[in-house]
Amino acid sequence: MTRLAMAFDRFIIAIFGVLLIVIGFGALMWNADLIAGMPEYITLGDSAAMLDASWWPWAVAAAGIACVLLGLRWLVAHIPAGARRGVHTTAHTDLGTVELDLQNVAEAAAHNLADNASTYSSNGRAVLDRGVRTIELEVTAQSADDVSTVIENIDETARDIAVAVDDATVAVRTIVHMSKEGQRSRTVR
């Protein structure tokens, strides 16, 4: 999800929220005699006559098509950009252009980390995080005693990724988890 899509979500939700507050407040105040000049009925006046106009059904159709297209486009904006287009890095050589799928690099790195006895499980994925191509690894340590070893392996793997990718703009981050089986308490939250 891009920053623009996020900002758009916030803007529309804020506008809709304010609109709901105004409508709700209006409904509560309607019969309270606290605000002078509140009408007894809602009257659309001449606007209601447009229902009988010949162009009305076609205006509804056009609005419907616009709403469906905008709604679908808005929904697509919520799909992570990396999932839609993939996350790649490109190198230009004398022989041509080489494109590297960072998802493969992430999976290979996770595979390497999983080979270690200190690691309970690991997985990797390539994401676009706030506009930065990022290889994200998640590693679960077997137990509390294994955390330091896992962190050393993560640092070594991060260096391996830097060598493999050879692109200073690609970021790497790792999230360390604790195995639930590696602790003795049943009531830990």
Partner: protein
């Protein structure tokens, strides 16, 4: 599957001289506004589908009444009714929630880990780490831990309410957490006597 070489002899770069990659930023959770935005996008699509359904009725492709026209006619001439009080209250509450959701920043529930690369641990996993450390203390029967970015609260069930046990638990948790977490959160220990 492709694999990253661990064989330093085959690697043209000496492992000691290998540069670190660019540090990834702290992971953040999904913003509530994005969830609300997704719901609004679905609502807009449904609204468009209703408009197209009405058009299909006008054209004669399907049978039925015109929902949008009926709604407009219902609003025209509407007067105050008692159901508007709970509905209006609900609208104000939902509206306030939406405004708060729109303005709330994305939360970070991870702590930086002592590492040369960008490594993070969630507060839930920090609590698990503290629990495991507390379990190493003699006399501890059961442990429950909660952690925030600043504080770890360990609640232990012990065989004896000897004050020394609380101190031992605190030291064990500090020994385990300090080498891992950069911010060095405070440790609070509560003990209760009990049987397993």
């Amino acid at each position: 599957m492709t694999s990253l070489s661990k064989d330093s002899a085959a690697d043209p770069h000496d492992p000691v001289d290998k540069a670190l990659p660019r540090a990834g930023r702290a992971p953040v959770g999904t913003a509530s506004a994005a969830v609300a935005g997704g719901v609004a996008a679905v609502a807009l699509t449904v609204l468009g589908a209703i408009a197209l359904r009405d058009t299909a009725v006008v054209v004669g492709w399907i049978q039925g009444s015109l929902w949008i026209d009926a709604t407009v006619e219902w609003i025209d001439g509407l007067s105050f009714q008692t159901w508007m009080i709970p509905a209006g209250t609900a609208a104000v509450v939902i509206g306030l929630i939406l405004v708060i959701v729109a303005l709330t920043p994305r939360r970070t529930r991870v702590l930086a880990v002592r590492a040369t690369s960008s490594v993070w641990m969630s507060t839930d996993d920090l609590a698990r780490l503290a629990t495991a450390a507390a379990h190493t203390v003699a006399g501890v029967l059961d442990v429950r831990s909660d952690a925030t970015g600043r504080k770890i609260t360990v609640t232990a069930q012990v065989t004896d309410t000897d004050g020394a046990v609380a101190g031992e638990i605190e030291r064990a948790v500090r020994r385990c957490v300090h080498p891992v977490i950069v911010s060095d959160p405070a440790v609070h220990v509560r003990i209760h006597t009990g049987r397993r």
